[in-house]
């Protein structure tokens, strides 16, 4: 039995944690380092920092935030948004990140994933896919933080990313993201059997049942949560208790 990881995702714009619906209509939630420390103290398993607008500006502006966060936070940290070169990855790791999440640049140049995995090891390369339902049972991959359709079938793309050497897949449902209406279970059901690397589910968690429903239906490796924690709808320890009570193994 796998222990499921519970991840808090912090989307950041102009040094503030923000949250939108379908990755649009962003509003300010709080200060990233204060929130990261709070989640760490509450027992989060991992943190993801995403620069919400970096893909448009060809750069990631989170390195100084990561540098501060990892002085006090001793769980794995992933940083994403605007990661385009090996030098960007080097800088992210130097700032204290353990992994980088890559989406837009992977679509633009798939061999970047291979190069990155060979240079830094697969364990530090999280391939990020933002998927939107196109026709029943089919999802299209989006880039630029969910703004640009790519015409690529997300499932085929996921398989290719695994073959290129990605260490994990973070799969965000654009349809569910920010809605607090639950994870897109059919999405993860479709992807799980084709992947042997860890799969992180992202987008839609608004209540505890959403986490248990997905976990009961699909063997995802990690649950990424934003709204549920950001809006104070649930605490982390409490969430883990609910998961454990329904038979889902988590770190206590």
């Amino acid at each position: 039995m796998h222990k499921k990881r519970l991840i808090a995702r912090l989307d950041i714009k102009n040094s503030f944690v923000i949250k939108g619906i379908h990755l649009e209509g962003l509003r300010k939630i709080g200060e990233p380092n204060a929130m990261a420390l709070e989640y760490y103290n509450q027992g989060i398993d991992e943190l993801i920092f995403m620069d919400a607008v970096a893909a448009y500006y060809d750069r990631n502006s989170l390195f100084h935030i990561i540098e501060a966060a990892c002085r006090d936070v001793f769980v794995p940290i992933t940083v994403g948004g605007g990661i385009r070169t090996l030098e960007d990855i080097r800088q992210a790791l130097k700032s204290g990140a353990d992994k980088v999440a890559i989406n837009t640049q992977a679509i633009a140049n798939p061999s970047f994933i291979k190069e990155a995995a060979q240079t830094f090891g697969s364990q530090c390369i999280v391939a990020s896919i933002v998927a939107k339902l196109s026709t029943p049972g089919h999802w299209e991959a989006y880039t630029y933080n969910g703004r640009e359709p790519t015409g690529r079938d997300a499932l085929e793309w996921a398989k290719e990313l695994e073959d290129l050497g990605a260490g994990e897949i973070m799969l965000t449902s654009l349809d569910q993201e920010g809605t607090k209406k639950g994870y897109d279970i059919t999405l993860y059901e479709a992807f799980r059997p084709t992947l042997s690397i860890p799969l992180i589910a992202c987008g839609g968690a608004g209540r505890h049942e959403h986490l248990t429903q997905l976990s009961d239906a699909v063997d995802v490796d990690a649950l990424s949560v934003a709204s549920l924690f950001h809006y104070g709808l649930a605490g982390i320890a409490e969430t883990k208790e609910v998961l454990a009570a329904s038979g889902i193994e988590v770190r206590r």
Binding site: H2, K3, R5, Y40, G43, D45, C70, R71, D72, F74, V75, P76, L93, K94, S95, G96, D98, F120, G121, S122, Q123, C124, G167, E168, S196, I197, P198, D221, R251, R252
Partner: protein, 215 residues
């Protein structure tokens, strides 16, 4: 007290340094043989592939200084790839000699059914104590058996002698060596610097051992 974190262009040295600072140490990041020779505790971090790691150690002329340091009796801790490189050889991509400080080899992590499980192993998993006293006065002193630590790896250490296994961890029907010890030489397959408060306690234990070795 001079604690040295080996800087050889690989790994999350920043996180290791931060965690040691959190425990009151003032670690030096270094690849200078003289600094290593004078250290009271040395940590060899590392992530990535075995051949690349050994290449980097050779590139920085660190193989002999590390072996000489290990022979001094002062504590050495390898983390993740740093632990794997303590062994005789690695079988990742091509057969590559390791530092040879602990007999054994580094092999792919396979499930009971073979190589078809969920790989890499990215998870918080329990550290199991082999016998009641095994952890006394080691880096796992006062850690409870089944304490969970953060792992991220696709290969495992397979030590030649069972007595060097300090902790084991179950995964997909097998149990692998998750911490190793031979005298003053320690290794963790997991990341103590990323394993929350319990991980910090393991690093604190290492610092105490370094201090004890000095006195």
């Amino acid at each position: 007290m001079s604690i040295v974190v080996i800087d050889y262009g690989l790994g999350n040295t920043k996180s290791v340094v931060n965690a040691l600072k959190n425990q009151g140490a003032e670690p030096l990041l270094s690849n200078e043989p003289e600094v290593i020779a004078g250290a009271e505790g040395v940590i060899l971090p590392g992530v990535g592939a075995f051949p690349h790691g050994m290449n980097q150690l050779r590139r920085f002329d660190l193989v002999d200084p590390l072996i000489r340091y290990a022979q001094s009796g002062r504590p050495l801790l390898g983390i993740c790839l740093g632990m794997q490189m303590l062994l005789s050889r690695g079988l990742e991509f091509v057969l590559t000699p390791g530092l040879g400080l602990i007999a054994g080899e580094v092999v792919p992590l396979a499930s009971e059914q073979g190589l078809y499980g969920r790989i890499p192993h990215v998870e918080w998993s329990p550290l199991i104590r082999p016998t009641a006293e095994k952890w006394d006065d080691t880096i796992l002193h006062n850690i409870d058996s089944k304490t969970e630590a953060y792992f991220v790896h696709s290969f495992i250490a397979n030590p030649a002698e069972e007595k060097t296994i300090l902790a084991s961890t179950p995964y997909q029907g097998i149990a692998f060596c998750s911490a190793i010890r031979e005298g003053n030489i320690y290794g963790c397959q997991f990341h103590p610097e990323k394993s929350g408060l319990e991980g910090l306690k393991i690093l604190e234990n290492f610092l105490k051992i370094a201090k004890g070795a000095k006195e």
